[in-house]
């Protein structure tokens, strides 16, 4: 979130113009559907402040190219603890689902704009909050290791110009297991694990 304005938020989405998230497109806590009042407008800053991260969907595109976002589904909303990786948008494969729960213990959101969010898989699946309550409890070390490893794997894949999708990230993660997390960023190790990932993906196709 870049700015909090009158009835909307300005959001940075790695596009030519800043995107807009209208207050009416935002889901209120509790999931209730009602007309947004003046009090809601004044309480905007309580929901989302400058510097917060959100996951949202594109609702429409204005004539000048600016994008209007909405978070009308409960799976969208403010993001809690996790790691953001910014990559070139052309390396993210266009798929039907963007939210993936990887079997290694973390979840990943692959945004088509190149913003990738890695976070620990939440235990309860149905959260009524709709993304408003952020869990500030410290994340356990094992989860953090998985997330760091995934982050380094994504950086390695990007470095070697391989398309990013859930399978390629998972194969790369498995290929990187024999190495230490910080060693993944070394050029020789990067080449080695991405080569192995490429091989497995080719075997999958053929």
């Amino acid at each position: 979130i870049l700015q909090v304005q009158q009835k909307r938020w300005k959001v940075e989405t790695n596009s030519r113009l800043d995107s807009v998230l209208l207050l009416s497109s935002m889901n209120l806590p509790g999931g209730e559907l009602r007309r947004r009042s003046a009090e809601d407008e004044l309480a905007m800053r309580d929901y989302l402040q400058e510097g917060d991260l959100i996951s949202a969907e594109v609702q429409s595109v204005f004539s000048d190219g600016a994008v209007s976002l909405h978070t009308r589904s409960l799976k969208y909303g403010k993001l809690g603890q996790g790691v953001l990786v910014q990559v070139s948008p052309s390396l993210v494969k266009r798929q039907k689902t963007h939210f993936h729960d990887l079997p290694c213990g973390a979840s990943v959101i692959l945004g088509n704009n190149g913003f990738i969010w890695i976070y620990p898989t939440p235990e309860q699946k149905d959260e009524e909050a709709g993304g408003f309550t952020t869990n500030s409890e410290p994340v356990p070390l094992s989860d953090r290791e998985v997330i760091s490893r995934l982050r380094n794997c994504i950086v390695a894949l990007v470095n070697q110009k391989l398309m990013l999708f859930d399978t390629s990230i998972l194969y790369c993660y498995e290929a990187s297991l024999p190495h230490q997390i910080k060693d993944i960023l070394k050029p020789e190790v990067m080449e080695e694990i991405v080569l192995e990932t490429r091989q497995r993906l080719l075997n999958l196709e053929g």
Binding site: R144, E145, S148, N152, Q180, I181, L185, K186
Partner: protein
Amino acid sequence: EDLRVDGRGCEDYRCAEVETDVVSNTSGSARVKLGHTDILVGVKAEMGTPKLEKPDEGYLEFFVDCSANATPEFEGRGGEELGAEIANTLYRVFSSESSVDLKSLCINPREHCWILYVDVLLLECGGNLFDAISIAVKAALFNTRIPKVRVSEDEEGSKEIELSDDPYDCIRLNVDDVPCIVTLSKIGYRHVVDATLQEEACSLASLLISVTSKGTLTSLKKVGKGSLDPESIFEMMETGKRVGKSLHIALQKVLDEEESLGSSRQKVGFLG
């Protein structure tokens, strides 16, 4: 628990690449790539008059140029403030008498001496500028070759300076006591070495320590808006000394390896 976002521990540096002798028309040069931070240092040795208060010593002059390529904030005159801050820090770090043997830079007391102009160019900003710059400065000084001069006296008494024609006849600087800067950024309750841009954004206060290879501190500087507890300063100093010593050992090893390859070394430079 000693695990950062990219898997490093709190005292681990990123992968660094050091290459010397990349700029041909300087007396010495070095390029350092620390993660996404890219620094180029060139050293030019010129003859001049010694300073009045130190007539039998040469001296070093630092100039830092923040290229507009590094980040968009450096466009136009945006990088001047940061450049001046870095240059002042370098002057402080090298202000100690034992860092560089300035007496060896003297040719004729009160008349001629070598002035080493150290120019630092920031090519890319990826966090942890000071450390990368100090590594590059040490590598460039190691690579510097100052031509030998002979002073001959005429019959009238006026001194003539002759530069030797042989390009290999030169003096090298002893960089054993040249300090390196270690930046410790405080994030939450811990401090980390070699912060990336993201980590620097989260850190409210940092401590810049310049350490020599023997572990002696030559200068200490606190940067940032936040405050530091005196106890944490002591801890950070101890960490800085430890990390600084191992940094010096690793750097010297790389420089010696590069040196031993001699003229047959393949230079990567900027096009590799």
